[in-house]
């Protein structure tokens, strides 16, 4: 039920209603991005953002640095197993 899928915002389709087109593994669909938009990060700045999509809404922006750090930690485990 709480399923979420990562996707990348490729265009803003309705600035007033905060609607955007998201690309999820090649499939495109209009989603609502109201939950990830604020004064610091306005609607028009969301293009190219990676977001988590749940029931037609972007619920959170994916923190690319945090994702890289998690993977780095796992990579270090692989290296420590090999050594």
């Amino acid at each position: 039920m709480c399923l979420g899928i990562p996707g990348q915002i490729i265009a803003i389709s309705n600035l007033a209603h905060k609607l955007a087109i998201v690309d999820i593994g090649g499939v495109r669909r209009q989603i609502n991005i109201a939950c990830i938009v604020d004064e610091e990060h306005p609607t028009e700045a969301c293009i190219d953002d990676w977001v988590l999509v749940h029931v037609g809404f972007a619920m959170s922006r994916i923190d690319q640095q945090a994702a890289a750090e998690t993977l780095q930690l796992l990579e270090e485990l692989v290296l420590s197993e090999l050594s």
Partner: protein
């Protein structure tokens, strides 16, 4: 697919599993870990994670499937609203087979009710715009992950003054359910895998009581196999070091204070109910959401008449014990015989996120367990 494939890498999984095995040997006792979220239950079965873990780690599949815990009485009410000839009833696909007292939404649709499956509550609002002479009702359910989306849909309906749209609200809250579980004397757990997408909305702060008042470690986890394995590893480290903390494995999506915009929308539209009756767990105070009086015109409960009865769970059903980890699905008399995903009797067999349905679908029973099931007669 970016942010999906890299969290499934087999060589990393092997390395984490090795760490988990080593830590388990050092801890050297039986550990019960509950994954709260149905999404985790589904992923654990789909990827066979339970089979990869050392035998001393037992996963308890918690109550985090909002479809499964929907009580029969509420389903009867939903079906009654859907059968109103003026109504187009819209719902997520997962609710269609959930059993009410006599029938389910799928059967009601077959008998002529206009019931439509939608992907998003916004699709339901669109149907309302396209059918101005009919009443469109959305079956709102789900945890805090989903509640902001239905709140924003109601706010949009209000902004556009769409008067033929309303919602039958059955949203539930994770934190009161966890507290109710932890208050049970017979629950013996060693830690929690916390729900990733609920936490993306509420943050990690609301879980502090678990570590501070109940001395349990919890790790908020993502849903890919590597996320879940890494979370189990983090839990074992806490257990070994005698720590009870709220840790966040899913930092790429979960912030400490959650999503303030989503929380604001939720609080603007919804108020907390006095109580909600969870199928399998019973009444839990302040565990559900209702539509605030300011948005009463979008509340289907005020627009339509329905029975509103409370209906007891089936006597043979052991869902309550299974949700608390006291019984395994195959220890229930009706598992796989009278109760199957096609004709579920209990909550846990309803959705693919329920523990019984997951065991039934993926058949991941160990040899000993299989022989028990086989000998059940």
């Amino acid at each position: 697919m970016k942010y999906v494939d890299e969290f499934r890498a087999p060589e990393k999984a092997t390395a984490v599993l090795q760490e988990i095995k080593q830590l388990s040997q050092e801890i050297d006792r039986h550990l019960k870990i509950m994954e709260v979220c149905g999404g985790h239950t589904h992923a654990i079965f789909k990827y066979g994670i339970e089979e990869l873990l050392p035998e001393q780690i037992e996963l308890i599949h918690g109550p985090g499937c909002p479809v499964c815990i929907m009580p029969k009485g509420r389903l009867d009410d939903a079906i009654a609203i859907a059968q109103n000839p003026q109504v187009i009833f819209t719902t997520f696909g997962d609710t269609m087979r959930v059993p009410g007292s006599h029938t389910n939404l799928l059967q009601a649709k077959a008998q002529g009710a206009d019931i439509r499956i939608v992907y998003s509550p916004l699709d339901s609002l669109q149907i309302a715009k396209e059918n101005p002479t009919q009443e469109v009702v959305f079956f709102g359910l789900g945890f805090e992950t989903t509640a902001p989306s239905t709140a924003l849909t109601i706010l949009q309906a209000a902004a556009e003054n769409i008067t033929n749209f309303s919602m039958f609200c059955n949203h539930v809250l994770v934190i009161p359910a966890l507290r109710a579980l932890l208050d049970q004397d017979d629950l013996m757990l060693n830690g929690f895998i916390g729900p990733g997408h609920v936490s993306m909305v509420i943050g990690t702060d609301p879980y502090e009581f678990i570590s501070q008042q109940y001395d349990q470690p919890i790790v908020i986890s993502g849903f890919a196999p590597l996320d879940i394995l890494q979370s189990i590893w983090m839990l074992l480290k806490q257990i070994k070091e005698n720590r009870c903390q709220v840790e966040n494995q899913y930092s790429r999506l979960v912030a400490k204070t959650g999503n303030p915009i989503a929380l604001k929308a939720m609080n603007q539209v919804f108020d907390v109910c006095e109580t909600f009756a969870w199928r399998g767990l019973g009444e839990i105070p302040a565990s559900g959401l209702k539509i605030r009086t300011e948005y009463a015109q979008f509340d289907a409960e005020l627009k339509f008449s329905f029975p509103g009865f409370r209906v007891a769970d089936h006597k043979a059903c052991k869902c309550g014990e299974i949700l608390k980890g006291m019984l395994k699905p195959w220890e229930c008399k009706v598992f796989g015989t009278a109760c199957t995903p096609e004709t579920p009797i209990g909550a846990c067999m309803v959705s693919s996120e329920g523990a019984c349905a997951a065991y039934y679908k993926y058949g991941r029973l160990s040899k000993a367990e299989k022989s028990k099931f086989g000998n059940k007669g």
